[in-house]
Amino acid sequence: MNLGRTNKYLGGLLIAFFLLSALLGWLWTPYDPLALDLRARLQAPGAAHWLGTDEYGRDVLSRLMAAARTSVTISALTVSFAVAFGIVLGALSGYARGWIDRAVMLLTDTLLAFPSILLALALLSILGANIWGVILALGLAYMPTVTRVVRGAVMSLREQEFIEASRLMGHPVGYTLRAHVIPNCLAPVIVIATSMFGSVLLTESALSFLGLGVPPPAPTWGNMLAGARPYMSQASWLGIFPGFCIALTLLGINLFGDYVRDRFDPRMKGL
């Protein structure tokens, strides 16, 4: 049996499942994810509440679906932010070289010197915990990886003869970058963006867990997990379901990421 193919499908299936629940969570949830029902506190999974209720009687399934939406939005925006700015900075730095390169690399190396969660924590304590703060903080934390990869790709590309041919045609630098340089270094960017999606999701959950992510009552998998901690012995489902969501989504993204990597980067095949 071809394990690679199976992984691809399993990964795709898991991702599709969570994307769909995120989409569904936008339009419809079984209950209002924010509605309190103190008579139905800490109910075990059952017919009325499939995945049980939390300490305020909110429906766990509804909250998970709403949280999926938040997580997907945050991850997507964060990755887009990191990729967009990373490409611009990396292309500039790799193509211009000289002092621009040194300045960009100084910034990048400084950012890379901090663990991304620590950097995000520091930025969030300045920016305040809200969804845009999270996106900006995580985006800045993940941007250096993209910058580095793009810079490397651009540095080897700029020596290629078709780039020189473009210069010979009298095209301005901006055009050459847009038309020839950036499109040709997208493959590795797509590869790291895929796996970045997973780690952003995880970091966002961790931040929420630490109380620095999207502020309650809006649900995220991370803050649901944090809220479940005091009740682990009485209502284990409160922790188990968000935990499962995080783990399965990450598994899906990682499996799919391997496929994307093989697809775009033949050199990495079989690693």
Binding site: Q160, E161, F162, E164, A165, S166, R167, L168, M169, G170, H171, A179, H180, P183, N184
Partner: protein, 550 residues
Amino acid sequence: MTDQDILLSVQALELGIAGLPEKRIVRGVGFDIRPGEMVGLVGESGSGKTMLGRAIIGLQPGGIVGRGGSIRLRGRDIAQMSPRERRRMRGEEVAIVFQEPMTSLNPSMTIGRQLEEPLRTHTKLAAAERRARILKMMDRVGIPSPADRLDDYPHEFSGGMRQRIMLASAMLLKPALLIADEPTTALDALVQREVLELMVEMTRENGTALILISHDLPMVARYCERIMVMRRGELVEQGETRQILAQPAHDYTRKLLAAMPERGPLRSFAEGDTPLVELRDLKVEYVSRGGLLSRANRKLALKGASLTVRRGEVVAVVGASGSGKTTLGRALAHLIPHSEGEILFRGKPVRRGSAGWMDFRLNCQMIFQDPYGSLDPRFTIRRALAEALYHLDIGAQEKDARIRRIVAEVGLEEEHLERLPHEMSGGQRQRVAIARAIISEPDFVIADEAVSALDVTVRAQVLDLLADLQQRHGFSCLFISHDLGVVEQLADRVVVMRDGEIVEEGPRDRIFDAPENDYTRALLSAIPTLKRTGEGVELSWRFTAPEAGA
């Protein structure tokens, strides 16, 4: 002829690919090699010559499998040998020298140890005797003060020296057969000749038979008594060198001979006109930025070059790698900055941003060596060509018409316009690169090794195309090449470079017939002059061969 007279006998050999029962890489190849004989195996890339050479020593890559026929060494079928016998055969009886001296030596092992390996494996000599044998052999292949160099690593030797070391390691055990697979293709013309001559002498001294595999027919013809011509896995012709050259029997052989460049017609140019391009004492310095503790490293790659190119003239710049010829072209095109000197275009100095800059930029185009790297892999041919017209003030219809016209001119079809570079052959790609360079009708084209990466027959076609287009459009051309053969065909004037300096310059015929500089003479002695005799050719070599081992 008895069996004893035949060293190697290949009969009806078929090589295929595992899993593809119909596919053949080598088809029905048969030949005999007698002891001490020198045989050339000629063919273009993909003809199967390398696979054949490797199969003889049992080193074909995985996935290549025998589909019939036999290879017999002194009457013994190598397919029947035990692994132990086969190991003994390799090295002791058959040795091989590969093309790439950079990768065929282990970079992390001293050459002393690498040369010792075959002796340790195949002989029972004591350490002192091994050392003596190695030193003698290193001396023989022309490595100065060998005792001091035993502990050096491969990267401390030049390409030519490395190939000498490979040769030494192959000849240490005095094999009965040496297979040399493009042994000098990666080397400069001069070094190439020295190494080849050394190889021929050494095989002759030891009575070793030589199979010289190469794409370079004149080179093979010079050293080998017999030539085998391969094409698409088949041996299309084999015979004595003189016979093959004078009376080629197969169409393909005739094509190969016809592809050999010969001197083009003499053209004259009006003196006194303002030259189109003029360089005055151009210097280019490469500076590698120093770190915190190291000083910046400066190297003068071009030490003051002056030359002129007249309207419609083809000026060739020749020289070995590292001579600064490519630097000259790139500095002239303003792809790299020059540190001193002036570049004049239409009699006026140009610089980035100066008055005539855009005129110069659009009128100075370049054709690069690598047909794989010079086209954006994501651009269709149509888009690549349209891009070159971007700055021209003509309507969309006119642009489209020009694209169609140029595509026809370079011998491609309109259907090629929608293709991507990887869907085309190397020759077709180079045609696209030429089309892109001249579609805007520039006055000046720099061709940097524009045909060097192509197979012989394709090279001849592209070269003819280039000459034809030059005649028709009348652009001036700076033709940079290490290959004097193609220069002789195309150039009106020749500039010879060495170590960043111009050592000789003059009209083509004067340079080729009566060179004044020793270095030019040495370069020229590596290529034949050729006389066409009906369907065949007669080759002769200029000047006398330099002293052996010099």
